[in-house]
């Protein structure tokens, strides 16, 4: 429907009336149109149409088509008879192809995503299977070996990739370590055996030298001049010294082979016993031993006694002249074990000798100054090693000496000792590590 004002023939002047032009399109007609075009068309006013600001384009006679979501919308201005326009024919067509396209795109995306997930899963699974699981099994076995120290164990990783090569390399390394350790153990054993046999067999002729020396001295001394008597007495002194050396060597070589089983040992008791053994020397030197609270450890009681006998005995022996020796024995217990410190106010020694003093037959002083075979601290060290502990010395010349001992606590001791007994070789690295960790805590 449209309306036009009625003007004069020139199209001017006042409106003489209004011409209404109506074209009647009933619903039936629309349906027919619908059916013919298979399009859903409807009439709307300009204002109702969704023109998105393109009204001017429509007015210039262009058909507007724009897609809106799933629907394609087309608009055409229905010119009224007078050339004006107020109605719009709107055709809305569902966008089936577009929807199909959209569906295909969605489908494609879904398929791609699913494929992606599948691919990632596969890759991860393959990685896990070929790499991660193998890697973790490898690292697990390597860790187990480093924790137990069991170098006879091997990593088990079959295959032909870098990981299995790595595993084979680790095994090769372990084999060579095992080989070396075995050789070391054998050489240690041989040395101990040698020391034992040598010192045992050396005692025999020495016994004779001593016995015939005695005979000579008691039977023929009156026939000798002073020089002759001096020679005999020198010889006898030397045999006594030799006997000391041999016996110390013998006890050194027996530490590992002839030690007692470990049991609970109260170090307070041990040190009390040692002090009572040293009573005479303590009296002679006016010395004192101050003992703090000491722990109960898992150890060979005879060897523990030997350790404190040697350390406290040394402290009394290497005293400053004119200064009564004071020996302090103190202990501290940590998770990892016990630290025991034996400290004196004696003559001390330069720190550079701190390791040498533990070597066998090492002496820092002339025989005429201080007696002894130079085995005492070597024996201490070896005993502590048998107990999976350690000992080291801190000293300064003229300022006394500190001996710092470590011993594992019961629980660990049981384990470690079992291991050590089985292997008969001290795990030096483990000890050193445990020692430094413990000392850090102690400090």
């Amino acid at each position: 429907m449209s309306s036009l004002p009625i003007l004069n023939n020139l199209g001017e002047g006042e409106a003489a009336g209004t011409l209404l032009i109506v074209r009647y399109l009933d619903n039936k007609r629309f349906q027919q149109l619908d059916g013919a075009a298979s399009v859903a068309a409807r009439l709307t006013t300009l204002a109702e149409a969704d023109l998105q600001g393109r009204e001017s384009e429509l007015r210039q006679g262009t058909y507007l088509i724009h897609p809106k979501g799933q629907v394609l919308k087309g608009y055409a201005l229905l010119p009224s008879i007078d050339g004006g326009s107020s109605l719009v024919l709107a055709i809305e067509e569902p966008r089936t192809i577009y929807q199909q396209g959209l569906r295909s795109v969605l489908m494609l995306i879904t398929v791609l995503v699913l494929l992606g997930i599948a691919a990632v899963t596969t890759v991860v699974w393959l990685l896990e299977r070929t790499l991660l699981r193998r890697l973790s099994s490898l690292s697990k076995s390597v860790r187990a070996i480093s924790e137990t120290g069991d170098i006879t164990a091997r990593t088990k990783l079959a295959g032909k990739d870098e990981l299995s090569f790595l595993s084979a390399d680790i095994n090769r390394m372990l084999s060579s370590l095992e080989h070396q350790e075995k050789a070391l153990r054998e050489s240690n054993k041989e040395l101990e055996q040698f020391a034992y046999v040598a010192s045992h067999d050396l005692q025999e002729p020495l016994r004779k030298v001593q016995a015939f020396g005695d005979r000579l001295a008691s039977k023929y001394a009156h026939q000798l001049d002073d020089d002759g008597k001096l020679y005999i007495s020198r010889m006898q002194d030397a045999t006594v010294r030799m006997r000391g050396l041999i016996q110390d060597l013998l006890s050194y070589s027996r530490i590992r082979s002839k030690g007692q089983d470990f049991m609970r040992v109260d170090l307070n008791e041990i040190v009390r016993g040692v002090i009572s053994d040293l009573e005479v020397r303590l009296e002679q030197t006016q010395g004192r031993v101050k003992v703090g609270e000491l722990p109960t450890v898992l150890a060979d009681p005879v060897q523990m006694r030997q350790v404190f006998q040697n350390l406290i005995g040394n402290a009394l022996k290497f005293k400053k002249s004119g200064v009564p020796p004071v020996v302090k024995v103190a202990a501290k217990t940590k998770d990892k074990g016990h630290i025991i410190v034996v400290e004196d106010n004696g003559i001390g020694f330069e720190q550079e000798y701190a390791e040498r003093v533990f070597e066998i037959f090492q002496r820092l002083h002339g025989r005429s100054d201080y007696e002894g075979t130079g085995m005492g601290l070597a024996i201490v060290k070896k005993i502590l090693e048998r107990h999976v502990g350690s000992v080291r010395a801190e000293s300064e010349k003229g300022r006394g000496t500190r001996f710092i001992l470590t011993l594992p606590n019961h629980k660990d001791a049981n384990e470690m000792v079992k291991k050590t007994l089985a292997e008969d070789t001290p795990r030096v690295d483990n000890q050193r590590q445990a020692r430094t960790e413990m000392e850090k805590e102690f400090a």
Binding site: Q203, E204, R207, Q210, A211, F212, D214, R215, S218, R243
Partner: protein, 146 residues
């Protein structure tokens, strides 16, 4: 009288020990005769009067045996076992005299029937003491079989 009659037989391969023991006997003023053999084989031959020991007057049956454990040919352990399983010889007391202090040697010796076990002393004076001690025990206190 009985004291005088007891002969000591010492089985030891070490000539020094034989000499020193003989010396120690004198020093301890034990008048017993002492005879020596150098290994287990000789010991058994002596006791059974075989070979060079056939003459019973030159080689009288000992009243006591001093036996070293470590000897060539037949060692003291084997000799001890043979002596103690021989019904004729088993009554002769055997004193083990050796340098070994090993528990297993001591136990084994007593298991085999040794009557005493002595570790060889280090000094001569100690040896004299030991000899004097067992002289007193075996020849004065203890009654020995004839």
């Amino acid at each position: 009288m009985k004291y005088k009659s007891v002969t000591i037989l010492m089985a030891d391969d070490d000539p020094d020990d034989r000499l020193l023991t003989e010396d120690a006997l004198k020093e301890a003023r034990l008048a017993n005769e002492i005879r020596f053999v150098e290994n287990g084989e000789e010991l058994l031959q002596y006791l059974r009067h075989q070979g060079k020991f056939a003459d019973k007057t030159l080689h009288p049956r000992p009243g006591i045996i001093l036996l070293d454990l470590n000897m060539p040919k037949m060692d003291g352990r084997e000799a001890l076992q043979l002596i103690k399983s021989d019904p004729d010889l088993r009554r002769i007391p055997v004193i083990i005299m050796t340098t070994s202090k090993a528990d297993q040697d001591i136990l084994k010796s007593y298991d085999l029937g040794a009557n005493s076990y002595v570790t060889k002393p280090v000094t001569f004076d100690e040896l004299v003491e030991v000899v004097r001690g067992f002289g007193k025990y075996w020849f004065e206190i203890v009654a020995l079989p004839d």
